[in-house]
């Protein structure tokens, strides 16, 4: 691979296009990124309120089950029977007192311990497992689990940083802003299959440069402008990042004459659609990307986890979990649901992104020998008090290259 594929000598200001389509790179990502020492988002506690409640999900492309144990703790196990590899759990959400694989009825408790093997002692003294077969050695593989203020993360690695250190102080502060310990309320799901490499999704949310150009809706209705107060923040490794903005004055200035898409005097026919109220301190919008599979969306009052599930080098599932707080009144819940129109597979804003990611994949996959230019805002990466930069993407690839050793 190294001989055939070399990262351009310019470093992180160039993104070689083979990283978006090469099956060897994809396989290496599964191993190093998703099964490496990283905390992957798997669920909200609010999805599993009662003992036995479970959620079927994925880390990278590997199926896992997240389950609430009888003592209130949360276990994450591989969704793969220890016997012959069957993906035994087939429903998104449910409740179970134990998990039974349908193929040969091997049965596991909520911790993943093997508690039943039919015909283990044989039938009429014939067959059966060897006398020294010990169920203790054949449970489901258990993952490491970390929880913080209503969110559950898991890892295939056993030796890794505690979650707060993994986030780093600046990302932790942004995280705790939304997940402040209040009980969360589940509002619902959206799922879309985006025909693009998973990294293009991270690039998109780490790219404030496009927001005022691609998203005519945001710009036209005054939800985001390149000239509004904003900043970017990253952790010390560059793997996590956040795009932060807050409301400014809405007028056409010399600074935004470059925004060809700006349509003045645009008004919504029904202004109820966007009726934001100030809910969180300081910022209106914070989009946080947490390595390796999570985007936390706080766009005014619409809150969502966007989980990336890889489906080969050229596709990923984007699983959206919209939520509010258990103490939201009816007005606030309605507001969140209305503003959810901005996001998801039919989002006024996110439609542009899913479509453009497909266009990106169509370009980069056809030209693996070429490379993208990433020089907006400089050639290094650091926090900036503005959004006219690709710094957060450069930071991501700086870390990515270390993890991937490419």
């Amino acid at each position: 691979m190294e001989a055939r594929r070399a990262w351009p000598k310019e470093g992180i200001t160039r993104i070689p296009y083979w990283i978006y389509s090469d099956p060897e790179i994809y396989a290496r990502e599964q191993e190093r990124v998703f099964c490496g020492p990283s905390w992957s988002y798997v669920a909200l506690e609010a999805e599993l309120p009662k003992p036995g409640d479970f959620k079927r999900t994925f880390i990278g492309e590997k199926p896992v089950v997240v389950v609430r144990d009888n003592d209130g703790s949360v276990n994450v196990v591989e969704n793969r029977c220890a016997h012959r590899g069957v993906q035994f759990c087939q429903t998104h959400l449910g409740n179970a007192s134990e998990f039974m694989c349908p193929y040969h009825q091997w049965t596991y408790d909520l911790k993943g311990n093997l508690i039943g093997v039919p015909f283990r002692r044989g039938v009429k003294k014939q067959g059966g497992m060897p006398a020294d077969f010990d169920p203790k050695n054949h449970g489901l593989r258990k993952l490491s689990v970390a929880r913080r203020n209503g969110v559950i993360f898991a890892s295939f690695a056993s030796d890794l940083q505690p979650l707060d250190e993994y986030f780093g102080p600046s990302m932790l502060a942004l995280y705790d802003r939304v997940f402040d310990g209040r009980e969360l309320a589940l509002l619902g799901y959206s799922r879309q299959l985006i025909p693009a490499n998973w990294k293009l999704m991270f690039e998109n949310i780490k790219d404030p440069y496009h927001a005022s150009l691609l998203h005519v809706f945001l710009v036209s209705f005054g939800l985001f402008r390149a000239d509004q107060p904003s900043k970017i923040e990253m952790d010390s490794t560059g793997r996590h990042g956040a795009l932060i903005s807050w409301r400014g004055e809405q007028k056409k200035t010399d600074d935004n004459v470059d925004m060809k898409s700006l349509i003045d005097n645009f008004r919504l026919s029904d202004p109820d659609l966007l009726d934001p109220v100030r809910e969180f301190a300081q910022y209106t919008v914070v989009m946080t990307t947490l390595w390796p599979n999570l985007i936390i969306q706080q766009q005014s009052n619409t809150l969502a986890m966007r989980q990336l599930i890889t489906r080969g080098p050229d596709a990923f599932e984007l699983a959206w979990t919209f939520f509010g707080y258990a103490d939201d009144d009816e007005t606030m819940t309605r507001r969140r649901l209305r503003q959810a129109n901005l996001m998801g597979p039919a989002g006024f804003v996110s439609i542009d992104d899913s479509e453009v990611m497909k266009f990106s994949q169509a370009g980069v996959a056809a030209y693996p020998e070429s490379a993208g230019v990433m020089e907006m805002g400089g050639r290094d990466w650091k926090d900036e008090p503005h959004m006219v930069t690709e710094s957060v993407i450069r930071a991501f690839y700086d870390y990515y290259r270390q993890v991937m050793q490419i």
């Binding site: 299959l193 025909p195 029904d270 439609i351 479509e355």
Partner: protein
């Protein structure tokens, strides 16, 4: 209206509705609804679990018109054709002046360089009223089975 006349009126309404969207006469689409109204496209998993999130939510003709503005003026998307098949129209009955109707729908999407695919399928759960002598949707729910949306949902169902 006799049962036969009602059946004919509904067949015509659903055919007109599908044709309006298939022919991309989106500006005419809000006229199929009352004001206020409720138009929602909802993943079946949310509907069945009682989760309130819709993939697409409109609560008035104004909302519908804003969606049309987005389709025409703000959204960036690849060219496509969409064709909607409506079948199995069932009248559940009147409650007062509101007629409850259900039907199955199938939306086929054709993108450039790709074969036509099933984009979305599900059930319409509709509530209609007579307004100015015409049947109008007071409520139209599109409860879809196709949980994993193929990329983007741009046009109404």
């Amino acid at each position: 209206m006799s049962a036969g006349e009602l059946r004919l009126a509904l067949e015509e309404l659903y055919a007109d509705y599908a044709a309006c969207l298939d022919e991309e006469r989106f500006e005419d689409w809000p006229a199929f609804f009352t004001d206020p109204c409720l138009y929602k496209i909802v993943p079946r998993e949310n509907f069945e679990r009682g989760l309130p999130l819709a993939t697409w939510l409109c609560e008035s003709k104004g909302y519908l018109a804003d969606r049309v503005t987005a389709i025409r003026k703000t959204a960036v998307y690849a060219p496509r054709y969409m064709r909607r098949m409506v079948s199995g129209i069932r009248v559940l009955g009147w409650s007062g002046t509101v007629l409850e109707v259900r039907a199955s729908y199938l939306a086929l999407e054709t993108l450039q360089d790709e074969l036509t695919r099933v984009f979305n399928t599900g059930q319409y759960r509709d509530k209609l009223v007579v307004e100015d002598g015409k049947l109008k949707f007071r409520e139209k729910l599109c409860i879809f089975d196709s949980l994993l949306v193929p990329n983007s949902l741009i046009y109404p169902l």
